[in-house]
């Protein structure tokens, strides 16, 4: 059994063990176990379906990126910081557009930070201090299975000695598996998060609201929740894609941040997103320090510019505004709206990934990579911004993402 750090979800559990020989693990959730298990791999680098060497694939990639008028370099959330940093510099050098999986996930939260900031805390503060935790539009038991036990609902710490010391609230449009662990489940009408949060803000502020119900929730229930929030010693809202991918998106998060700002005038509250991929936070942090922005960054004029309406991957594809695409460890062909996927069929696509997926089927250049956290090491950001080093457990013939992107960068520099 080797000590490992799990590279599936934003929990980045660092207490797991995995035996590569027997394929058995300890303390792994179902998602983590699946992550570590051996599975079908892309066998070799390929150009247009023909097996080639890594070097040939790298040269072809550089050629495509240098010649493209507006290449889109997308993905980055399932690889290590070291590869992302080269990826940013690569995008700058080829005058392309950098975007990462957040733009179809938690990027609305980034827009909310721009509007209002974020009063937050690390997962350890939830574990040690939170006597009220609200899961809003997220379903940790299915998306981050060990979150409740390690960090939130059931976690024990400095001030919280048992599950009884803490109240759990789940707010969602459907009764998710996570609703079962709640002391209070509030079912809301899809698309009304914003209005409900506005109502809560009013109630916390002491304003009466004229409506008898908001977003399918009776005023009394909202008043009770507002009271519960005000009387918490230390509360946390964890929010998920239920807020960011539905009507209101960034405005929902912004409104929730305003609620937390207000609550801090009475007691302590923080809010934090339940980030999905194991290094989706890094895919935003690194460009932020290298070039100033987290995602949807265009370099075509020699300097970075941020504009989600123009430079997010989905918008770039919908508008047919990119003439080449590099996909790093992601599967947009499976996870983007269909109309966006269609443009991928019209342009050269380069894929870097350990596993064959739907994007492989649309790719002109395929570069298989070592699996970070199993075959390659590097730093990653847990969902709360804490960096952990994922480990190399076994040797591999595959190149690491870091090496692949670095080699592409060097090949590009030779051409400039």
């Amino acid at each position: 059994m080797a000590d490992a750090v799990c590279t599936f979800c934003g929990n980045v559990c660092d207490d797991v063990e995995f035996d590569v020989n027997t394929q058995k693990g300890k303390r792994l959730c179902a998602l983590g176990l699946a992550k570590f298990r051996e599975k079908e791999r892309i066998k070799s680098p390929m150009i247009n379906g023909k097996e080639v060497s890594y070097e040939e694939a790298v040269e072809e990639t550089a050629e495509i990126l240098v010649n493209a008028k507006k290449p889109l370099l997308y993905g980055w959330s399932s690889t290590v910081n070291e590869a992302i940093r080269y990826g940013i510099i690569l995008t700058e050098k080829v005058g392309g557009v950098y975007d990462q999986c957040s733009s179809v996930c938690h990027a609305p939260g980034t827009l909310a930070i721009i509007e209002e900031g974020i009063p937050g805390g690390s997962l350890g503060t939830a574990k040690n201090r939170a006597d009220v935790i609200v899961f809003w539009g997220c379903n940790p038991l299915e998306a981050h299975p060990r979150h409740p036990a390690r960090y939130s609902a059931m976690a024990k710490g400095f001030l919280i000695k048992s599950r009884k010391d803490r109240k759990i609230v789940v707010v969602d449009v459907r009764k998710t598996k996570s609703a079962a662990m709640a002391d209070k489940f509030i079912q809301i009408k899809p698309g009304y998060d914003y209005a409900i949060i506005s109502a809560l803000r009013a109630l916390v502020k002491g304003e009466d609201i004229e409506a008898r119900e908001v977003g399918g929730v009776p005023k009394e229930v909202l008043a009770e929740l507002a009271d519960m929030m005000k009387s918490a010693n230390y509360g946390v809202i964890f929010y998920g894609l239920g807020i960011t991918q539905s009507r209101g998106r960034d405005r929902n998060v912004e409104n929730a941040v305003k609620l937390i700002q207000l609550l801090n005038r009475h007691t302590r509250w923080v809010i934090w997103p339940m980030r999905g991929h194991y290094n989706v936070v890094g895919a935003g942090e690194i460009p932020a320090w290298e070039v100033g922005f987290q995602y949807a960054i265009d370099f075509s004029r020699g300097y970075p510019r941020f504009s989600p309406a123009e430079f997010s991957a989905v918008e770039m594809l919908l508008r047919k505004d990119c003439d080449a695409m590099l996909v790093m460890s992601s599967d947009p062909a499976a996870h983007f709206p269909w109309k966006a996927v269609e443009h991928m069929k019209n342009i050269p696509v380069i894929q870097i990934d350990p596993f064959p997926n739907m994007t492989t089927l649309l790719s002109n250049v395929v570069i298989p990579s070592a699996v970070a956290g199993i075959e390659a090491e590097g730093n990653v950001y847990r969902m709360d911004g804490i960096v952990l080093r994922v480990k190399k457990l076994v040797d591999s013939e595959y190149w690491s993402d870091e090496k692949i992107v670095h080699e592409i960068l060097k090949a590009v520099e030779r051409r400039l």
Binding site: L31, P108, E142, V173, Q245, A333, A334, M358
Partner: protein
């Protein structure tokens, strides 16, 4: 045919198989929709039946299951089937709307496509 609001999202099975897109397990994890029991009955559905889900953005055939969703709401696990019908309009945010898309569903005899058929490469 009934009008529904479509939401999509993660499930544990979708998560477990997401790195094995061509496996039977992944196919089974993402090719269905959950429907409220009343709506299920209204549509005259039985276990193993298929429905066509149609929105302004496309249509897709998936298996129908009874799920813990409110009446008038259906849930499809995130993945290629869901994304045939999710909103591609980002409303200027860069984020397509994956949840809360108005559409309609009806029973159908058409088969559920494989992921490759769905992509149009097979």
């Amino acid at each position: 045919m009934i009008e529904v609001e479509v939401i999509t999202g993660r499930t544990i099975d979708q998560g477990k198989t997401v790195e094995e897109k061509f496996s039977e397990e992944y196919f089974n994890a993402v090719n269905y929709c959950e429907i409220n029991e009343q709506d299920f009955k209204k549509l005259g559905l039985r276990d193993g039946d298929r429905v066509r889900v149609k929105t302004d953005f496309g249509e897709v055939v998936v298996y129908a299951k009874i799920g813990d969703v409110p009446e008038g709401v259906i849930f499809i696990p995130m993945g290629p089937y869901a994304n045939r019908i999710t909103s591609d309009d980002t409303d200027g945010t860069g984020m397509p709307r994956f949840k809360g898309i108005i559409g309609e569903i009806e029973k159908t005899d058409e088969p559920v496509k494989s992921v490759k058929q769905l992509l149009g490469v097979e």
